[in-house]
């Protein structure tokens, strides 16, 4: 039977694939769990994510219904632990519902940019030459813009909406991801096992799939995790400028925008929505640092 040659040399002494993957994962989790701040941050982040997903069940009030007589209640007010907003709506309920969109806007752009930027970077790094020049020089142009301004420009042009914010941030993140992937591929490409795979007749596609991707994945992955917090803050910033969801939909950035006018009446009213953006970004950063240390990647 002829099977496609993947360039993987069989070696009976080496553990079989599952066992190897298993021990690698064990080693990674052992290192990650030893990193206290990262581990605690992961738990806290998990609590935030799960609570926002369960918002319809655990939210004490309807996020859109408010009593106008009960507006701008302070934190700890009776019946409203986190107070009420400018229309008398329960802030805790709005935080829980709003988190769904805010967290989504943090993660999705990184996923999109990771896929597109990663593929572009792998192509540029693996094939080199003209393809590399065209891809990388084109992406270089995007470095001439301050990230937030580019995102504002694109999403302002596309029009209001959380989907447009996601598109804008994805575009902003593609060039740096591509750059990381490209430089990682370039390093791996020179390794002897790639040459060995090629001499055994492996096709480009299999070399990329089995040898390149396996070896660059952790670097690109760690870089992408560090971008999630930036994406989250950026998305809430665009929302804050009024480019995201339109009221009355709850989203952390929009909540801050609506509450900012009330700051002279109740100076602490903006604390809560911002605190959730901040804590989410902080925990994501700590977890990303933990991943980086556990995978022993220097950046």
């Amino acid at each position: 039977m002829i099977t496609e040659n993947t360039g993987q040399l069989s070696n009976p002494v080496i553990l079989n694939k599952e066992e190897k993957e298993d021990s690698r994962f064990k080693e990674f989790s052992r290192r990650f769990l030893k990193n206290r701040p990262a581990f605690l941050a992961l738990i806290l982040l998990g609590i935030i994510v799960i609570s926002t997903i369960m918002a319809p069940i655990i939210a004490p009030y309807d996020p859109y219904e408010g009593e106008i007589t009960n507006r701008l209640q302070v934190i700890g007010a009776e019946g409203h632990i986190l107070g009420t907003d400018e229309q008398g709506r329960d802030i805790l309920s709005r935080i829980l519902y709003g988190g769904q969109l805010s967290l989504l806007a943090g993660i999705v752009p990184v996923l999109i940019a990771g896929l597109i930027g990663g593929s572009l970077g792998v192509m540029a790094g693996y094939f080199g030459g003209m393809i590399n020049t065209i891809i990388m020089r084109t992406l270089d142009i995007f470095y001439a813009f301050p990230a937030i301004l580019l995102a504002i420009g694109i999403s302002a042009a596309l029009g209001q909406g959380i989907d447009n914010i996601i598109i804008a941030i994805s575009i902003v993140f593609i060039p740096p991801v591509a750059r990381i992937a490209e430089s990682a591929v370039k390093e791996v490409r020179e390794e002897e096992f790639i040459e060995a795979a090629r001499t055994t007749g492996a096709k480009n596609f299999s070399i990329i799939r089995y040898h390149i991707l396996m070896n660059i994945f952790s670097r690109v992955f760690v870089y992408c995790t560090t971008q999630i917090s930036i994406s989250l803050v950026l998305a809430s910033g665009l929302s804050f400028l009024g480019l995201g969801v339109s009221p009355p939909t709850a989203e952390w950035g929009v909540m801050l925008n609506n509450l900012k006018e009330q700051i002279f009446i109740n100076p602490l009213v903006t604390v809560i929505p911002g605190l959730f953006i901040f804590i989410s970004a902080l925990t994501i950063n700590l977890v990303a640092d933990g991943f980086r240390d556990a995978l022993e990647i220097k950046q």
Binding site: D140, A144, S236, K260, P267
Partner: protein, 315 residues
């Protein structure tokens, strides 16, 4: 050195051209026909064709781009749809104010990060080092518009120490002391991220340098800690300078949100108003202008780097 400068300047041209292409295309993705916003609802098909011709919208995209580029190079950024003023004039005034705020934020963050970064590299177990760690992490996680709101809440509303909006007080005379007072809160809010990034970077650079052979040699020769510090600082200057230059660029580009919160009359505030009024010529020109400043700043950093570090020149 001259060759290096020439090479860097020439390399900038394709970048700037690319920037203009992206900014031009940005306006092309705006949904809806721009002619519709100009024409009254009962306009005939002939009126529509005439307006299209006047605006050059009947030309191919490349021709439209080139004529737009030509006008832009002459300093003609078009007219604001809403304000009915020359975008160029509006932008130049705003740019000046954005620079003032960026300088304030840079002043606050550069000096503080240098002190905390160097000190915590020398004394990794001190409370300042832990504080520096916290700042490093907070700075990169905190949304600066939220920091701005917190600062206003605390220092303007509760304590009443500092003004919360604008560049000068009503009847404040607009003196430089008055402006400084107005600058404090926006500078801190805008400089927060830079403070975090630079503190982390300076600390790790200095820690690396302190383990270098030349420092050990200096110590062995009995050099005073002041002399060692001078050697270390001199060696980390190129790195710090590069990051500081980039960060200054981000301060100019990233101040949109902070300017909005403080009603600081800069480019960011202008762009924010333009977004809500869908005044696209201002958004387009604003993004273009800030990006050009950003590119020029990067060029200056590279050149300065070459002046300080001869290795860069010959690379």
């Amino acid at each position: 050195m001259f060759q290096f400068i020439l090479k860097r300047c020439l390399l900038m041209i394709p970048t700037l051209l690319g920037v203009t292409i992206i900014v031009f295309l940005m306006l092309q993705i705006v949904p809806g026909d721009p002619v519709n916003t100009i024409l009254p609802a009962d306009a005939t098909e002939e009126d529509r064709l005439r307006v299209e011709q006047e605006l050059g919208l009947d030309q191919p995209l490349v021709v439209q781009y080139l004529s737009w580029l030509g006008r832009t190079l002459e300093g003609d950024f078009g007219r604001s749809i809403i304000k009915q003023l020359e975008v160029g004039t509006l932008l130049f005034d705003a740019m000046k104010n954005t620079f003032i705020l960026a300088i304030g934020a840079a002043f606050f963050s550069f000096i503080l990060s240098l002190i905390i970064g160097v000190y915590s590299a020398y004394h990794p177990k001190s409370w300042i080092a832990s504080f520096g760690n916290m700042i490093g992490l907070t700075g990169v996680s905190i949304p600066n518009f939220w920091a701005a709101l917190l600062l206003i809440g605390l220092f303007s509303v509760i304590l009443g120490w500092l003004p919360s909006t604008g560049m000068s007080g009503v009847g404040g005379g607009g003196g430089s002391f008055d402006m400084l007072k107005h600058m404090i809160l926006p500078s801190i809010a805008a400089g927060m991220t830079t403070l975090g990034v630079m503190t982390r970077m300076i600390r790790s650079t200095v820690i690396d340098l302190l383990q270098k052979d030349f420092v050990i040699t200096l110590k062995a020769k009995g050099a005073s800690s002041y002399i060692i510090l001078m050697h270390v600082l001199k060696n980390c200057t190129p790195t710090i300078l590069t990051v500081a230059g980039l960060q200054f660029g981000y301060l100019i580009g990233g101040s949109v949100l902070v300017e909005t919160v403080f009603s600081w009359p800069g480019v960011g505030q202008l762009i924010y108003q333009a977004i809500s009024q869908r005044d696209f010529p201002i958004i387009q020109a604003g993004v273009l202008m800030v990006s050009i400043v950003f590119v020029l700043l990067n060029l200056m950093v590279d050149l300065l780097h070459a002046v300080i570090d001869p290795r860069v020149r010959h690379a």
